[in-house]
Amino acid sequence: MNQTNDTLLLQQMLRIRLVEEEIAIRYPEGKIRCPTHLSIGQEAVAAAVGLALRKDDLAVSGHRAHAHYLGKGGNLPQMIAEIYGKATGCSGGKGGSMHLVDESVGFVGSTAIVGGTVPVGVGLGYGIKLKGTDQVSCVFHGDAVVEAGVFAESVNFAALKSLPVLFVCENNLYSVYSPLHVRQPAGREIWRMAQGMGITARHCDGNDAAAVYACVTDAISSIRAGNGPVFLEFATYRWREHCGPYYDNDIGYRSESEFLEWKARDPIPRLEAALLRDGMISHADIEQMLDNIRSEIAAAFEAADAAPFPLAEEAFTHLYAQ
């Protein structure tokens, strides 16, 4: 198989999907003992953005960060180990699912406070600008983040200083169980609001991986060309419950039919079908891809399960840097 961007995109999406599904399967065993937010249904954005960014570009994210971490090239075994609370985890077990880091690929960190890393990403952008590199700092965030004052403050500063920051907003219509209409005014278009704050902004179908990729690539070129920050809004949908492994269309805050509509827009079969149609990939290629991913995942979970826990005394380390 010829590794084009599109096949890489597919592969990334599949990898994220299967990792998240495996976490969902394992969660009820009670060995993953931390709040865990899955990205199933939203893989296109993470995969495309990750692919469009260079390895030395930087990224930060929030509570739902597995996909962003993996898309950016983060180390899978270290992520799974972290979720299991093991000493071999990317944060040594201190952080869990909501605190991922892989500096070797520019994934600077994800944290658990809504909006908390938005200014951090902008500060990275300030560093980039000051040092004069052509890196980009990418801030992954959800639709609720734009309600946080720190978002407006951060966008204002990024625009003021024309910083190399890419804001990637995954609008999945919900914040926990709260639909947009109880949080933002009717008729609000998030990307237009960002535009009103003074930055270039666009929106795009977040379940069309190729379109996301094109849109992000454009934005990144513009940023690298020194044209300042760009805000991108992607429409997408989270399939499972906000936090935890299950489906929850039955509990009343959204409908099974809404879910099914969005499931029909699953970004993976969509890209798969296009690639098959165009002869870019064969069914056998896909099987091969899946096999590779499955064994990678199996190995990661096995290693995580087998890895040692941090010693209890490790709780009292790393408070201050020397």
Partner: protein, 351 residues
């Protein structure tokens, strides 16, 4: 009296206040969602409508200031944060506005705002979903701060908070929500600033609050079986602190152990030790002491919280040492049969 969970008691208090007073409103992230803030707000929107009971944008600071404004208009808002940690975004409105409005305008107005904050713990809540910063609020003139441990107090203190003319921070520990107790019916109020002595004893005064009271109770009951009797004072309010009750007890026992669910340095427990040391240095029979969380954030991995929290056995060991008892009685202490990072087997995550 009916047996209710702590969460149900809160729900009942909200419902009663909203029923009898149309100026009470109730909002916060998830207030009307299917989980109803751990069950505490379930059914309220159905009963009182979406103008009085509502979800909010993720805008903790403004929503606190909006509560101040609504209170100045004559409402009695109850705002909820699913974690105290999120309320760090609202310190300006709480401290610069809510706490000071009455004072800085010469007493012209009052701000009857209640802010509920849930204290997270366990199951990998991690560094930013587990902070017990009561010491911060207790340091601010103009705020009141309550920390119920028992279901009846959960109800009685919430009703008192809502009807208090001042901003009250109502801190509820996640590990208490499922605990049950007898809860008086109707508009039951527990005065803010009054502690409750849960056990009486001769050997030592123990002060505790919120979930730490639960651990302290286990320790006291165990020790009582071995001849060591404690005055266990459940503070219930940490601003104002009921100094009279503490004084009376310390005068009697001559020993003081202050417990706290927050970081040790700068804790409310430290304040109690400090003040009692100043006032009663002459009559203390032993050095006063405290047990609180270590001066580290709470990490995520289950093994990293194994030695982090103060449990009944630590309290018992400390008391034994302070009263000069042999501490090998501690080996007799019954062990818990559920993992250390959950309040009970009923808890299976994720939040």
């Amino acid at each position: 009296m009916a047996i209710k969970t702590f969460a149900q008691a809160i729900n009942e208090a909200l419902s009663i206040a909203m029923e009898q007073d149309s100026s009470v409103i109730c909002y916060g992230l998830g207030t009307d969602d299917p989980k109803g803030i751990f069950g505490t707000t379930l059914g309220l929107q159905e009963k009182f409508g979406p103008e009085r009971v509502f979800d909010m944008p993720t805008s903790e600071n403004a929503m606190t200031g909006i509560g101040v404004g609504a209170a100045l208009y004559g409402l009695r808002p109850v705002m909820s944060h699913q974690r105290l940690d999120f309320a760090l975004l609202s310190m300006d409105q709480l401290v610069n506005n809510a706490a000071k409005w009455h004072f800085m305008f010469g007493g012209r107005r009052t701000v009857p705002l209640t802010v509920r904050m849930i204290l997270g713990r366990g199951w990998g809540q991690g560094p930013t979903h587990s902070q017990n910063l009561q010491a911060w609020f207790a340091h601010i003139p103009g705020l009141k701060v309550v920390m119920p441990a028992m279901a009846d107090d959960a109800k009685g203190l919430l009703l008192s908070s809502i009807y208090d003319g001042n901003p009250v921070i109502y801190l509820e520990h996640r590990w208490l929500h499922n605990l049950k107790g007898e809860v008086p019916a109707g508009d039951y109020r527990v005065p803010i600033g009054k502690a409750r002595t849960l056990r009486e004893g001769a050997d030592i005064t123990i002060t505790a609050m919120s979930y730490m009271t639960i651990e302290a109770l286990r320790a006291c009951d165990f020790l009582a079986g071995h001849g060591i009797t404690c005055d266990l004072i459940d503070l219930r309010s940490v601003r104002p602190i009921d100094w009279d009750t503490i004084r009376a007890s310390v005068r009697r026992t001559g020993r003081l152990l202050a417990l706290d669910t927050g970081f040790t340095t700068g804790s409310v427990a430290g304040e109690i030790v400090a003040r009692m040391s100043t006032e009663y240095w002459g009559l203390l029979k032993a050095a006063p002491d405290r047990l609180a969380m270590p001066d580290y954030p709470e990490a995520t991995s289950p093994t990293l919280t194994e030695n982090y929290h103060i449990r009944a056995e630590h309290v018992a060991a400390k008391v034994a040492k302070m009263v000069g008892a042999k501490s090998d009685v501690l080996e007799l202490m019954p062990q818990r049969n559920h993992p250390h990072d959950v309040p009970g087997d009923w808890f299976t995550g994720p939040f």
